[in-house]
């Protein structure tokens, strides 16, 4: 691999990839050494052994990347993400996924076994493209893939599901209980403050919006009872004036409406 053959724009190495041998159209991916600005670094993706890949083809799989970039050295792990990020992809523990998952990966991280591989990868050729789907490890697409996914999705092990869910609930209940326990036995701290919670001896009023509104309404009603209307002459006079003002406003509004309609040629019936 000659040095001159590779292309770098703004620090990104451009590498063409294609689906399989039979195809000619290439898809460009952009390679860069992984670099974390935040403190603490990235345990899963060590800075010196990881390559960031942008513009991952939507049809690519983690497996196929492992194979294709194997030419630069052994790939330990491949992570697909929707956005550049650190750490592992979020565990989809709820399993409440859609039947057919979205193809929402856009970037990938290649973690090589050796540091040298990174350099090799960053010097991949611009003229020679990598092939992702090979005979040895083909990527299945098209209707066949959808059929496969459908069949998988229909074979839910109900007993297993039940077990998992029950476990989760138990776990949660236990946690809740612990928290409750702590809250209940809340003792005054060093300065003598006690946290008021929904449990325990001195329950405070719930801090919700609804409660707030209720209190305000009550006060409003009290105020209203004290007020007097239609008592002084000036009040009736004001009322009348207000009514006239309202009517006038309505008239003005109507007139402006008509003007708008006129502008929209709403008065040409034919």
């Amino acid at each position: 691999m000659a040095e001159s053959e590779h292309m770098v724009i703004k620090g990104l190495t451009v590498v063409p990839v294609k689906f399989d041998e039979a195809r000619t159209t290439v898809h460009y991916v952009y390679l860069k050494q992984h670099d974390v600005r935040q403190k603490g670094g990235d345990d899963v993706k060590p800075k010196d052994r990881t390559v960031f890949v942008g513009n991952v083809p939507p049809w690519a799989t983690e497996e196929s990347f492992k194979h294709a970039f194997g030419c630069c050295g052994r790939v330990e792990n491949v992570y697909f993400h929707a956005k550049p990020c650190k750490g592992k992809p979020a565990e989809d523990n709820s399993k409440r996924r859609e039947l057919f998952p979205k193809m929402d990966h856009r970037v990938a991280y290649l973690v090589f076994k050796n540091q040298q591989s990174v350099n090799k990868a960053l010097h991949l050729s611009y003229t020679k493209s990598l092939t992702l789907s090979t005979k040895k490890s083909p990527i299945v697409h098209g209707c066949a893939r959808y059929k496969q996914m459908y069949l998988e999705s229909r074979q839910t092990d109900v007993a297993e599901l039940k077990k998992q869910v029950t476990e989760r609930i138990m776990e949660h209940d236990l946690k809740e209980q612990e928290i409750e326990e702590v809250l209940k036995n809340a003792e005054p701290d060093d300065e003598g403050w006690t946290v008021v919670t929904r449990v325990g001896k001195n329950k405070g009023a719930p801090r919700t919006e609804a409660e707030d509104r209720r209190v305000k309404q009550k006060e409003g009603r009290k105020r209203k009872r004290k007020e007097m209307t239609n008592f002084y002459t000036f009040q009736t006079r004001e009322q009348k004036k207000q009514k006239i003002e309202e009517l006038r406003e309505k008239f003005e509004m109507d007139r402006s409406k008509v003007e708008i309609m006129k502008a929209q040629r709403k008065f040409k019936p034919f």
């Binding site: 290439v26 979205k102 929402d104 970037v107 697409h141 098209g142 019936p269």
Partner: protein, 1104 residues
């Protein structure tokens, strides 16, 4: 008067309409001078309740807009003066025999001369008087483009007393017009001159002049009428019961003295139409005098007449022969003024309203109106005589003339019907009055539920005249057979259709206009009549017409009318009656065809029109909702065997294509759900009881285009997926059903735990259901259950879930309830959709055609590739709007007219999609709405121009505007049978019933559910390239996916880590940059689609 003064200023400063009386202006000025403080004035007005409402202001603007502008009026006055001068100074001509017309050069006489010769001589003399008449001087003219009526009075000397006979007068009148035309064309004052018939009456040709005006502006159109000088004929000469066209002359028999038969004139057939046509010339002055007297000093009356004319014109009621003309309306208002129903001091709106109210309650068919107090006295005909000769009678001031010449009952009924609708309009939503009354044109196609066209040939017309025994009438109409037979056709239709229809209406034909040098259009060889039926929503679907009891005297009549269709039947009440049965299947598509069957039968039997000559318009459109017959046959076994009703079973089994438009099928699915719901509610030992079971799938609210067919193993088996080259299983949707659980305080406050508990509940529910013997598939969020061949997807409705999702804790620790996207989505499913289901169910109950209409609309939208971009609920709400707010129409009864009005609604400028949205659905993109408007308008033109043939055209979307077009393989379309182009017997894919291979494991439980690879592919492509392009696909078996790149996508971008996706490197200004990689996208489509994609066409010009 309380018009505020700034308003007044406006009126004065702007151009006033012409001929607004001078004293009127004076009055206004006076008013202004007495006005004091504007504030005070306003207050007074307010207290008197006298400020102009929005409606009044709108009316004022409308009148300003439609009346002739002052400049134009001045030009008209100049032109009229010039013409007057010319006409009055015309030199007299030589005397010619009437039938000798060589002297007219190449101008042809504007009347049909059949028979050619009539006695008498004609000599041209200049008119005695030329004057502007009609609506222009009365200032009731509403269209600036419409013609001004100029009248010339033909002098006495041109006529002899016997000219009243045998078309002599009408020919002389035509000769007079022709002579004037000849002289005018020599004078070279007009740009163009043509002949037309006044209100379509072939006895009354007029000259249409188009006179250029000085300076800018369109040429003025002037209608030149010829009327008679007073005293030529006595009106009694044209008494409607008299004969003035001798049959022997008309039939071409030679007699020595045509007038010798005077003694037996009483026995001759009367010629009321001929007589009335001439009377219109004779009595013109008297009526014009009456009108101008009534309208003197009454600007509000004039305004009201103008409004009424706009109203008439928008309903096409003032078009053609026998129409409700503007003149007639003016005379009616005159009549109402004289009887005190309206008074001059009323404002224009009040007069408008009272006139319509009077019309809506009038019954001129029994109680004719007369302007002449001495009607029937002297020589005048009596009202009874009038009623004998005419359908509708409105006697003029002289007492001789019926102003409703040629008006059929149906036109009069239509006017009354429209008037009562208008009154309804005025009582409804105030904001909409104005548009509904004056601005929305009520075209024929949008008004009527069914329209059909009869093609007529001279032979068939002659046959009809014979059948209906109308030779006397044909004499009266001087051989205009279409006009002659029309009332009789209407009569038999009315009798045949009875209470099924509210209105039967022939489409009005505008008067023909022809050049001077051509003969007037005669009975063309292939003319046609179009009729519209406004049907009664339930009566029109009746399958059986019960006649009189067998032994009653009317029975013979009934048998005679219906012919071999009539048969004796025993009814449930024990009576034996004559009856006519129109269909044996209760399918809605069958029921909807009853009216057209009746029309065909009645016309064939009584008018001798063969069924090939009757074209019912647009019924083929419903075919798009059919599914291929073969599939129906395969699936009908299941649906009928599952049906507990043995009667139904027989029906569906025998008909084979019992699916029809699928409406009954929806009812069936709802029935199955109801059974399932009962079972669910009764389930024992559930942690929480199931309170309610509501279907939220479109099928349950009657808006699923293709309701699910019962699953058949050989068409939907899971094993079909396992074998590589097997065609896909038939699409079986999973219909979502919400099971609302009883309330409980024990739900946790953690959303994930709620969901876990729901899953546990579902597992339990699944067990219980399979104990009942139902096949189920349990998933984390739902349970699919198979009942009677349909798959229902049960989800749990827990209102607590919404509450928990809405809980948001503010930074201060305050617990707030806020809508979040997630909470809205759940709320939509468990609250909004069930409500929608109930609403639409109610609409369907009231309007049986709702279902087919909304499905047609959706099918069309989908075929135009737009359904994915416009939320279903928006479409449904729009269609509901058509049914619930039908004004100015009535609620559609046929799906076709419903669909047409839907197209009109969405193509209109006033369509605001926002008003059909809810808080959950996102509004469609503007580009989509523009596209919708454009295709809807185009579809309307196609449907209106060639409604019969090629109806599928409207379901074929144009593809040339898309950037990329993806062609899908039909092999992998599980909904292929729903496609537009599908043939009736298309599913040759399954030649043999599928047999499980011997080694197949018997593990499958449900049919393959909700598996539509094309749809998944679309979702995949959207999620990958959704930022760059819009993807379009016809959900219902479309084999094309099209792609529209978003604007600006192809612009080069700077190299940035965040914008790498979908880009390829390029060079801009010798600096590296990125640009959109279209080739890679096309490649991705090919790869992801795999064998599903046959071909990808890149059509964009922006090649990368």
């Amino acid at each position: 008067m309380g018009i505020p003064d700034d308003m007044e200023d406006q009126c004065l400063s702007k151009k006033r309409p012409i001929a607004e009386d001078a004293d009127q202006e004076k009055k206004a000025k006076k008013k202004k001078s007495t006005k004091g403080d504007p504030e005070m004035e306003m207050d007074r007005a307010v207290l008197a309740g006298d400020i102009p409402s929005l409606f009044n202001m709108q009316i004022e603007e409308l009148l300003k807009e439609t009346r002739m502008k002052r400049k134009r009026a001045e030009k008209l006055a100049e032109t009229v003066e010039m013409l007057k001068d010319l006409l009055l100074n015309m030199s007299s001509g030589k005397e010619h025999k009437i039938h000798m017309q060589k002297w007219l050069k190449d101008i042809q006489l504007p009347v049909v001369q059949e028979p050619r010769t009539t006695k008498g001589c004609f000599q041209f003399h200049a008119p005695t008087r030329v004057f502007l008449g009609g609506s222009t001087p009365l200032n009731t003219c509403v269209q600036p483009s419409k013609a001004a009526d100029l009248f010339m009075e033909m002098p006495k000397v041109c006529f002899q007393s016997k000219d009243c006979f045998n078309h002599r007068y009408t020919r002389k009148r035509a000769l007079y017009l022709a002579a004037v035309a000849l002289k005018l064309s020599k004078a070279k004052v007009m740009e163009d001159a043509k002949f037309t018939y006044h209100l379509g009456n072939p006895y009354r040709p007029i000259l249409v002049l188009s006179v250029p005006v000085a300076g800018k502006g369109k040429p003025l159109t002037i209608h030149l009428h010829a009327v008679l000088e007073e005293g030529v004929f006595k009106p009694s000469r044209f008494h409607i019961t008299k004969n003035n066209v001798r049959p022997h002359w008309f039939c071409g028999e030679e007699r020595d003295d045509p007038d010798a038969g005077n003694e037996d004139a009483n026995s001759l057939p009367s010629t009321p139409v001929y007589n009335t046509s001439i009377l219109q010339d004779v009595c013109y002055d008297a009526n014009a005098e009456f009108l101008s007297q009534q309208l003197q000093d009454a600007p509000s009356v004039r305004d009201a007449i103008a409004l009424l004319k706009i109203w008439l014109h928008q309903r096409e009621l003032d078009v053609g022969y026998g129409c409700f003309s503007g003149f007639l309306m003016s005379m009616l208002v005159g009549h109402l003024l004289s009887t005190g129903v309206v008074i001059r001091s009323m404002n224009s709106y009040q007069i408008f309203r009272n006139t319509l109210l009077h019309l809506s309650k009038s019954c001129w068919l029994e109680q004719p109106v007369t302007l002449c107090p001495e009607v029937g006295e002297g020589n005048r005909p009596t009202l009874v005589q009038f009623l004998q000769e005419f359908d509708v009678v409105f006697v003029d001031v002289t007492g001789y003339l019926n102003l409703c010449l040629g008006m059929t009952k149906s036109v009069y009924n239509r006017v009354c019907h429209e008037a009562s609708l208008a009154i309804g309009c005025l009582m409804g939503d105030a904001a909409q009055h104005f548009d509904h009354l004056f601005m929305v044109p009520c075209c024929f196609q949008f008004k009527f539920d069914y329209t059909f066209t009869i093609s007529l040939t001279p032979e068939s017309l002659n046959k009809m005249v014979e059948n209906f025994q109308l030779s006397d009438r044909s004499l009266d109409h001087s051989g205009d057979l279409v006009t002659t037979v029309l009332p009789s056709i209407l009569e038999v239709l009315e009798k045949g259709l009875g209470d099924r229809v509210i209105l039967i209406q022939p489409q009005p034909q505008p008067s023909p206009v022809w050049p001077l040098t051509e003969d007037p259009p005669t009975q063309v060889s292939d003319c046609s009549l179009t009729f519209g039926l406004l049907t009664h929503k339930s009566n029109s679907l009746r399958l059986l017409d019960r006649g009189p009891p067998a032994n009653a005297p009317e029975a013979a009549d009934f048998r005679q009318f219906w012919g071999e269709k009539s048969e004796l039947r025993r009814f449930k009440d024990g009576g034996i009656s004559e009856a006519v049965v129109w269909a044996f299947s209760s399918g809605l598509n069958q029921k909807r065809s009853v009216c057209s069957k009746i029309v065909t039968h009645v016309l064939t039997r009584h008018a001798g029109i063969s069924s090939e000559e009757i074209h019912t318009v647009g019924r083929q459109l419903e075919n798009i909702l059919y599914v291929p017959r073969r599939i129906v046959r395969e699936t009908s076994d299941i649906s009928s065997s599952s049906n507990s009703n043995s009667k139904d079973k027989k029906k569906e089994g025998s008909s084979g294509a019992g699916y029809g438009t699928g409406e009954e099928h929806i009812y069936h699915i709802r029935q199955v759900l109801e059974d399932l719901g009962k079972a669910l509610r009764k389930l024992p030992d559930l942690a929480l009881r199931i309170n309610a079971v509501t279907g939220v799938d479109a099928a349950f609210r009657f808006s699923e285009v293709f309701p699910a067919l019962p699953a058949v193993e050989k068409l939907t088996s899971e094993n079909l997926l396992k074998e590589k080259n097997r065609p896909l299983p038939l699409y079986t949707p999973a219909m979502t059903v919400i099971c609302s659980l009883e309330g409980s305080g024990h739900w946790p406050e953690d959303i994930d735990r709620i969901r876990d508990l729901k899953t546990l509940y579902l597992v339990d529910l699944g067990d219980k259901l399979s104990d009942l013997g139902l096949k189920v598939n349990v998933q984390e969020t739902h349970v699919d259950v198979l009942k009677d061949g349909y798959v229902f997807r049960l989800k749990l409705g827990v209102s607590r879930e919404v509450g928990v999702l809405r809980m948001v804790r503010s930074p201060e620790g305050m617990l707030k309830m806020e809508d979040t996207p997630e909470s809205l989505a759940v709320e939509a499913e468990i609250t909004m959709l069930p409500e929608m289901t109930t609403t639409l169910q109610g609409v369907q109950q009231n309007h049986p055609s709702f279902c087919a209409t909304v499905r047609l609309a959706k099918r069309w939208l989908s075929a135009q590739l737009l359904l994915g971009h416009i939320p279903d609920l928006v479409v449904e709400r729009s269609v509901v709007h058509l049914f619930q707010n039908p004004l100015p129409f009535t609620a559609p009864v046929s799906p076709l007219v419903g669909f047409l009005r839907f197209l009109k609604l969405v193509s209109g400028n006033d369509y605001k999609v926002e008003s059909f949205l809810d808080k959950v659905t996102a509004p469609p993109l503007p580009v989509i709405m523009n596209r919708l408007k454009a295709v809807a308008a185009q579809t309307l033109t196609v449907l209106q121009s060639q409604p019969d043939t090629q109806w599928k055209v409207i379901f074929r979307p144009p593809l040339n505007m898309y950037d990329v077009v993806i062609h899908l393989s039909t092999q992998w379309l599980s909904r292929g049978h729903q496609g537009v182009e599908v043939k009736d017997v298309c599913v040759a894919k399954y030649p043999e019933p599928w047999r499980a291979p011997a080694n197949a494991v018997k593990e499958e439980t449900l049919p393959v559910t909700d598996f539509d690879p094309a749809h998944i592919l679309l979702q995949n492509l959207k999620s990958v390239y959704g930022d760059f392009a819009l993807f379009f696909h016809d959900t219902y078996g479309g084999d094309v996916m099209s792609v529209l790149l978003k604007p600006g996508v192809t612009d080069p971008k700077a190299v940035e880590l965040g914008h790498l996706f979908g880009q390829k490197p390029t060079v801009v200004d010798s600096k590296p940059a990125l640009t959109f990689d279209l080739d890679a996208m096309v490649e991705a489509v090919k790869v992801i689609g795999g064998d599903m994609v046959v071909k990808v066409d890149v059509q964009t010009k922006i090649q990368s």
